[in-house]
């Protein structure tokens, strides 16, 4: 079995789906000839030609808006937005049309579209290159929003996303694009959208994370080795629809709940997950649920980002507080 990075795994998924289905087209700013600024789409244009793998003008609203017409007229667009912060010029088409088209036409035009982009901080980048915007997409009815944390999941989720009959926002945690490799099967396989994964079973505290932060929680768990706290770690994998069942089953067992999100705190996914736990597992709780989050500030530039981005030590400290509540 090949050992791949998360980036390579996404490339392989795109490659295999393009070979499998001639309707799939991959495009975005610098996506074709160069293979994207991170090289996620490297080699695809050479293999599938300039009609199916192409560079676009720097116009995010044309990238997301044209996907709608392409999907209606027989293609399966996989549109790339170069960075998380550049989604916003294309956000209007996603929110006002892409998410609503099936409903607006009472099922006449469902849109089989993937919009993919690198997400999150940790690479000492410029402004607008380090945003965690899962709330802004997970809040929109009609969209599915996924974020993988491992190469294996990245491939399986991408294949599911391309095959999904509804628009899927595919967020790629850029800080782990190349850090960490994993055995990835050569054949095509699917990870279902809407299903979380129990990464590590435990009995004392349920911790939910996603994307790059699954690994950060694993580091925190290591730091807690001598504290006699047995953490159950869940990788959410899909921001919307939320896999409530996996979370609630875990909380009913542990009685304690912590959410880790890189995104700013207020109205973040953590608030939603804690509400679900409060509504549906309240009497099982032995401690107030907690959030470990970014702060309600603009993501700082490189010299200040270490305060904002969550370190494993801070996660460990919060888990400890909840365990000893």
């Amino acid at each position: 079995m090949a050992v791949l990075t998360l980036l390579d795994a996404i490339n392989q998924a795109l490659d295999q789906k393009m070979a499998d289905d001639s309707r799939v087209v991959v495009y975005g700013e610098d996506t074709g000839f160069e293979g994207g600024v991170f090289r996620v789409t490297a080699g695809l244009q050479k293999k599938y030609g300039v009609d199916r793998v192409f560079d676009t003008p720097i116009a995010e609203s044309a990238i997301t808006g044209s996907a709608i017409g392409m999907a209606i007229n027989g293609l399966i667009p996989v549109a790339e937005i170069q960075f998380d912060g550049f989604v916003f010029p294309g956000y209007t088409e996603i929110v006002t049309h892409m998410a609503r088209y099936r409903n607006r036409t009472r099922g006449r035009h469902g849109l089989q579209i993937v919009v993919r982009f690198p997400v999150g901080g940790g690479i000492r980048a410029l402004e607008h290159h380090s945003e965690s915007i899962e709330t802004l997409l997970g809040h929109i009815p009609g969209l599915k929003v996924v974020i993988p944390s491992t190469p294996y999941d990245a491939k399986g989720l991408m294949i599911s996303a391309i095959e999904d009959p509804d628009p899927v926002i595919f967020m790629e945690p850029k800080r782990i694009y190349r850090s960490g490799k994993q055995e990835v099967p050569e054949e095509m396989y699917r990870i279902p959208i809407g299903k979380a994964k129990v990464v590590k079973e435990g009995t004392d505290v349920t911790v939910v994370a996603w994307g790059a932060f699954v690994r950060e929680v694993e580091k925190a768990i290591k730091l807690l080795e001598n504290d006699n706290i047995n953490v159950e770690l869940i990788d959410l994998r899909t921001i919307n629809p939320i896999d409530e069942e996996t979370i609630l089953n875990s909380v009913k067992k542990t009685g304690r709940f912590v959410v880790v999100q890189e995104a700013v705190k207020t109205y973040g996914p953590g608030a939603e997950l804690i509400s679900i736990v409060n509504e549906k597992a309240f009497l099982h709780l032995e401690a107030a649920p907690a959030r470990v989050t970014g702060f309600d500030i603009t993501v700082p530039l490189a010299k200040g980002e270490h305060y904002h981005f969550i370190q494993p030590e801070r996660i460990a400290a919060e888990i400890k507080k909840v365990a000893k509540f």
Binding site: G65, G69, L75, R102
Partner: protein
């Protein structure tokens, strides 16, 4: 060639049939069959009655907000008559006549403005996207339709319509630029009806014409008398043929006028003078087209009167049918958010259903 003769910076407006119904460019008169010409005229006549009645229904509190089309019939139908059956229309929202010509049923159009999404569920073979309320964005959708047509070698052209106000929008530029860079078969028809609610065309841009914006994309542009249905047909036909041949997009500016209000919520007497409206009433596209048809011996006043009566009763009956549809079902407002309801939606739907049952509603 038409686009050379009427290059926007030559400041010429393309016209074949003047306001009095005289052929000012007889050599460019399109060779349309009697059948096609009458289909065009009958669509406009039905559109006009449906438009006027929609306003009445709204005033009676039976119809919701509605955007009147009166005055723009030729600009819409003339353009649509140039399309092939498999071509696409990506419309804005003031498109009653265009949609009727392309096969959307009046019942569906009324149902939508009556407040029901089923009005956007067109028949499968109707190549029209739903009413688009977000200004300008339909140009991007049409660019995508056109791109797909090109790479799948479908030979279809996508036509987007947009108002003069919409040309201020980024998506107008992004969509046209995107399609132009791939020579995708897109035609954009600007319905320049002079007013974006209360903002006159002159305040929306310093550009003297909207057609000249074509230079920025490296594509042909042409300004057309939008109340001259023959000129609209000829210009759009040339544009559609040009796009279909793989040359890329064309931009058409149809100079027309919204004789009515922006929507039923708008009072145009606040921002424009009666004299202006009266001057445009004289340029009503229906008057000159009817005269043209009568002069050709294709139509008579008696037939016109009979058609109006027929349309009156057809529109009345259609609206009655729409009114009888009542409210949507609870299931319908949930069911089409995704192909399959998510667990969250199922739970919310079941909750509301139970709540309504318990309340006896």
């Amino acid at each position: 060639m038409l686009f050379k003769d009427y290059e926007p910076l030559k400041k010429k407006q393309f016209q074949i049939l003047d306001a009095e119904g005289h052929l000012v460019k007889p050599e460019l008169e399109p060779k349309l069959s009697k059948e096609t010409l009458l289909k065009m005229y009958k669509t406009m006549a039905l559109g006009r009655v449906a438009d006027i009645k929609a306003l009445q229904y709204q005033r009676q509190g039976r119809m919701l907000t509605y955007p009147p089309n009166r005055g723009q019939e030729a600009a819409q139908v003339g353009a649509m008559a140039a399309l092939e059956p498999l071509d696409w229309l990506s419309p804005a929202f003031r498109e009653l006549n265009a949609m009727l010509y392309r096969g959307v049923k009046l019942e569906q159009i009324y149902l939508y403005w009556f407040g029901n999404e089923w009005g956007n569920h067109f028949d499968e073979d109707v190549r029209v996207l739903p009413v688009n309320v977000i200004i300008g964005s339909q140009v991007n959708h049409a660019a995508g339709l056109a791109y797909a047509s090109k790479v799948l070698k479908k030979n279809e052209v996508a036509v987007a319509t947009i108002g003069d106000g919409g040309t201020s929008h980024g998506e107008f530029y992004e969509g046209l630029n995107f399609a132009s860079s791939y020579n995708a078969p897109l035609v954009v028809v600007i319905q320049n009806n002079q007013w974006a609610i209360s903002t006159p065309r002159s305040k929306a841009t310093k550009a003297e014409t909207l057609a000249q914006k074509s230079y920025a994309f490296g594509i042909p542009g042409i300004q057309v008398d939008g109340n001259d249905i023959l000129a609209m047909y000829v210009a759009t036909k040339e544009a559609v043929d040009y796009a279909r041949a793989g040359n890329g997009p064309v931009l058409i500016e149809a100079v027309t006028y919204r004789l009515g209000a922006h929507t039923t919520s708008d009072d145009p007497t606040i921002y424009r003078k009666d004299e202006e409206v009266q001057a445009w009433e004289k340029k009503d596209p229906m008057i000159r087209f009817k005269k043209y048809l009568i002069d050709k011996g294709y139509w008579t006043e008696a037939e016109d009167k009979a058609l109006e009566e027929e349309n009156n009763s057809y529109v009345g009956e259609t609206f009655k049918k729409v009114e009888a549809t009542g409210l949507e079902t609870l299931e319908d407002i949930f069911k089409y958010t995704y192909k399959e309801m998510t667990p969250q939606l199922t739970e919310q739907y079941e909750y509301m259903k139970k709540y309504l049952e318990e309340e006896g509603k």
